[in-house]
């Protein structure tokens, strides 16, 4: 690395974010008086979006009190769930791999609010919130992390392997989910369903060759696929600037247009998702969508997250650009709910997660017979499988 550092030019390094979208979580303003029972319009900061070969989404967004409070509750609950996973990992109840999305809640919650139920989502290993929001349950996710029967894959997958009928999983191999997403979008188009597929990956995965293979096929066949780059600025322990010749990930699709959006303001996320969904379901082919976001924790539980960035940087993001605080501020400033009301929601989120933790912990480990299930498609198993010792033979 020392050699590489010497090779780098002496020009001052580009200051990150100098030209990017702004990532404040609390820069949205009311465009009209807020209402408790009717939808009202708010205006996003003018630097919330950047566009490549297309128009940026409009800055005006229609929201409702219920919608905003719902998003607040979801974000708070997702953060609580991830914190619970963090605690259980540190207690050695969860073993193996565990990638938490603390700090990135606006992306998962905003995405869910911008799409419809039957749209499809596939992502990488930072997948827990998506799995819950796409129809799973907190108990199901935590149970899976613990390797219990209550887990969404019956405790046999673990952290990266959680599925619902419209969520095609966390995927452990960096970038491998992206061409799979293109295939899912193809199937939707083949069936003439007016639906979108959201294929998510990180800034690290965007340098994988197969991501570009997927872009190419999707544009070639105009598939209704939104390629979403969750740019949290670090691919594992390497910053975007150190890994990518072009850190403007929304411009990497060549002839595929792209949108870059503030991934810390959940209203901007929702707007960007609505905009891209409209784009792909109107037959315009794929589009890239980059969310500039930030993860507070390390890449995984084995990464303290402070060896390649300063504690000050993390602290500054937490204190000034936190997505949940930003939304809380809107809700309070616009007079939709009081601080006490929000505290009540916080408490509810905590007790929901606490109950799920207990439920997951109480769930038994998979039965011995489950060792033999799902290896082959049901009904096509071989006559028997041998077990752990000579006499242990399972007959299907």
């Amino acid at each position: 690395m020392a050699t590489l550092a010497r090779l780098r030019s002496n020009l001052p390094r580009k200051v990150p974010l100098a030209r990017a979208v702004q990532t404040a979580a609390d820069s949205t303003r009311l465009a009209q008086d807020a209402s408790h029972d009717k939808p009202f319009t708010v205006k996003l900061h003018e630097d919330s979006f950047r566009a490549y070969q297309t128009e940026a989404p409009s800055l005006e967004v229609e929201v409702t009190k219920d919608g905003l409070l719902g998003m607040y509750k979801d974000m708070q609950t997702m953060r609580r769930m991830e914190m619970a996973a963090d605690a259980m990992y540190k207690q050695k109840l969860i073993r193996g791999f565990c990638h938490l999305a603390i700090g990135q809640e606006a992306v998962s919650v905003g995405l869910e609010r911008g799409i419809v139920k039957d749209d499809k989502v596939i992502t990488a290993y930072r997948c827990h919130p998506f799995a819950v929001l796409r129809g799973g349950s907190i108990t199901g996710v935590l149970g899976e992390l613990l390797g219990r029967q209550a887990g969404m894959s019956n405790g046999k997958g673990g952290s990266m392997h959680i599925f619902t009928p419209t969520f095609f999983g966390g995927n452990g191999i960096v970038g491998a989910q992206v061409p799979v997403g293109a295939g899912i979008a193809f199937a939707q188009k083949y069936r003439e369903q007016p639906l979108a597929t959201y294929a998510l990956y990180g800034d690290g995965a965007s340098n994988q060759g197969q991501v570009f293979e997927a872009y190419n096929m999707a544009k070639l066949w105009n598939l209704p696929c939104v390629f979403v780059c969750e740019n949290n600025k670090y691919g594992m322990g390497t910053s975007a600037e150190r890994s990518s010749q072009n850190t403007e990930y929304f411009t990497r699709g060549d002839k595929i247009p792209g949108i870059q959006a503030n991934g810390m303001d959940v209203i901007a996320v929702m707007k960007a998702v609505q905009h891209t969904r409209e784009w792909v379901t109107s037959g315009n082919g794929p589009i890239l969508l980059e969310f500039v976001t930030y993860r507070y924790g390390g890449h995984s539980m084995s990464d303290p997250g402070t060896t390649y960035r300063t504690r000050d940087e993390i602290q500054q993001m937490r204190s000034t650009q936190d997505a949940i605080r930003g939304l809380a501020r809107y809700i309070e400033e616009w007079g939709l709910a009081s601080e006490e009301d929000l505290k009540k929601i916080d408490k509810e989120a905590k007790s929901t997660v606490d109950a799920a933790v207990e439920e997951a912990k109480a769930s038994p480990v998979p039965l011995e017979k489950d060792l033999w299930t799902d290896i082959y498609y049901k009904g096509t198993e071989p006559p028997f499988m041998r077990g752990r010792e000579r006499e242990e033979i399972h007959y299907y």
Binding site: M152, G157, H161, P179, F186, Y190, M217
Partner: protein, 439 residues
């Protein structure tokens, strides 16, 4: 790598190459009736093989055949009246199978490099015209992408029939096949499967394919299946239970059609490797009805009691020749074949499915004969033969009269000029049989 749209160029360019360098390959590519039997003897070759079924009746009585329109609950009816056959070579049989799949299953799509105008080996000839370019379409040169894309389609419950233009190009897709396709059902707790996925690829040597057009990569997937099986870590898992990904290699047109239809309909992802030299050189009367031949079952082609020869794909025919040579050695090599061995009864088994492989049939045979020769084109180290030999020595240890012998490609790349010497030909197989019989 053959670029897409290079079919025309390929054939133009190839004419000179074929003529200049590949006299031997031309012999391989001959079909019955178009050329005189090879000079110098009466050894069977692929043109005269007794394993190729040339009459309607013989074809319809292919063992293990399951007619799609028959009720399989009861005993087989053996009613063959009204069933027709047509003379086809292997690529036509493959096309026929895909045509049936596309006709009967609206969700089926066929895609790959150049498939819309027939593919380099013509396996998809006319399918795009017949079923539309929405269902039969060309992909970019993007093997990893093709595999991932196919997995996506299959995970939506559709039937995805993907072609990797040559098995040699399957390596970029290795991750998608091993990490995504093979594990999808398990890691989703059975919520999703990609059983609708079938990956077809031309495999094995063609006489002049050289480094990147003659490989037999089936063994890599068998080993990778071990990775899959590491999920059930320290269990002593018998080889036929390793993974839901299946690897199938047919030897003839009838086999290709039935096995491919089974592969397409099997609810587990299947890698289907077609021996490319057999595309044109193997010709049979193939039933035109929809039928399947079950996966995971070996077929005993010749019954014997003294030695078992196990193989799959192209070498089936070299083994047939070698067995014939053992009984009637040509004068030039007769002195190397001791008189008593000429009466040896050799059993020949076509494994057909590499994973899960038919361990029962092979074990039963080796227990009877006490001797086993495994023949495959891939190189020896880490090949499929290693796995089979290890399992068989364990299961048949006290019944073995000789060490298990492997006749394989060498542990080298497949050199252009040396391809004839790379593949396990009938003389090397004969030598191995003599060695094993005289142990």
């Amino acid at each position: 790598m053959f670029a897409p749209s290079s079919l025309a160029r390929l054939s133009r360019r190839s004419v000179a190459t074929f003529k200049a360098k590949l006299q031997s390959a031309r012999r391989w590519e001959s079909t019955a009736g178009t050329e005189a039997p090879p000079a110098g003897g009466h050894s069977p070759s692929i043109a005269t093989s007794s394993f190729l079924r040339q009459t309607r009746d013989n074809s319809l009585r292919t063992p293990d055949i399951r007619w799609a329109d028959e009720d399989h609950a009861g005993p087989p009816s053996n009613a063959l009246a009204g069933r027709e056959t047509r003379k086809m070579n292997l690529y036509q049989a493959v096309r026929d199978a895909m045509s049936i799949a596309l006709t009967k299953d609206d969700s089926a799509v066929v895609f790959g490099e150049d498939v819309a105008f027939g593919g380099v080996f013509r396996c998809t000839m006319g399918l795009a015209e017949e079923f539309g370019r929405e269902r039969v379409f060309n992909t970019p040169l993007t093997e990893q992408g093709i595999a991932g894309f196919g997995i996506g389609i299959a995970s939506m419950g559709q039937t995805a029939i993907a072609e990797i233009q040559f098995a040699d190009y399957i390596y970029p897709a290795f991750d998608q096949l091993v990490n995504e396709a093979a594990k999808f059902n398990f890691r989703s707790g059975g919520n999703f499967d990609v059983g609708g996925l079938t990956i077809r690829c031309p495999s094995m040597s063609v006489g002049h394919g050289a480094l990147y057009h003659s490989q037999s990569p089936e063994g890599f997937f068998m080993g990778a299946a071990g990775l899959k099986a590491s999920l059930v870590a320290h269990f002593d898992v018998p080889p036929h239970t390793l993974t839901p990904t299946q690897i199938v290699i047919p030897r003839s047109p009838i086999q290709a059609k039935g096995l491919l239809l089974s592969a397409i309909r099997d609810p587990n992802p299947v890698i289907f490797m077609e021996p490319k030299i057999l595309y044109r050189s193997s010709v049979e009367q193939v039933p035109i009805d929809d039928y399947e031949i079950p996966l995971g079952r070996a077929e005993t082609l010749i019954h014997g009691s003294d030695l078992t020869v196990l193989t799959w794909g192209t070498p089936v025919y070299s083994c047939e020749t070698a067995i014939h040579m053992l009984a009637n050695p040509p004068e030039t090599i007769a002195r190397h074949v001791p008189e008593p061995f000429r009466k040896a009864k050799i059993e020949l088994i076509d494994l057909r499915t590499i994973l899960p492989w038919d361990v029962e049939t092979v074990t039963e045979s080796v227990k009877r004969t006490g001797r086993l020769v495994i023949v495959h084109e891939a190189s020896k180290t880490g090949g499929v033969g290693s796995e089979i030999a290890a399992e068989l020595q364990k299961r048949c240890f006290l019944k073995l009269d000789a060490p298990v012998k492997r006749v394989t490609g060498w542990d080298t790349p497949v050199g252009m000029s040396y391809e004839k010497f790379y593949i396990p030909d009938s003389v090397r197989i004969l030598d191995a049989m003599v060695e094993t019989l005289s142990y």
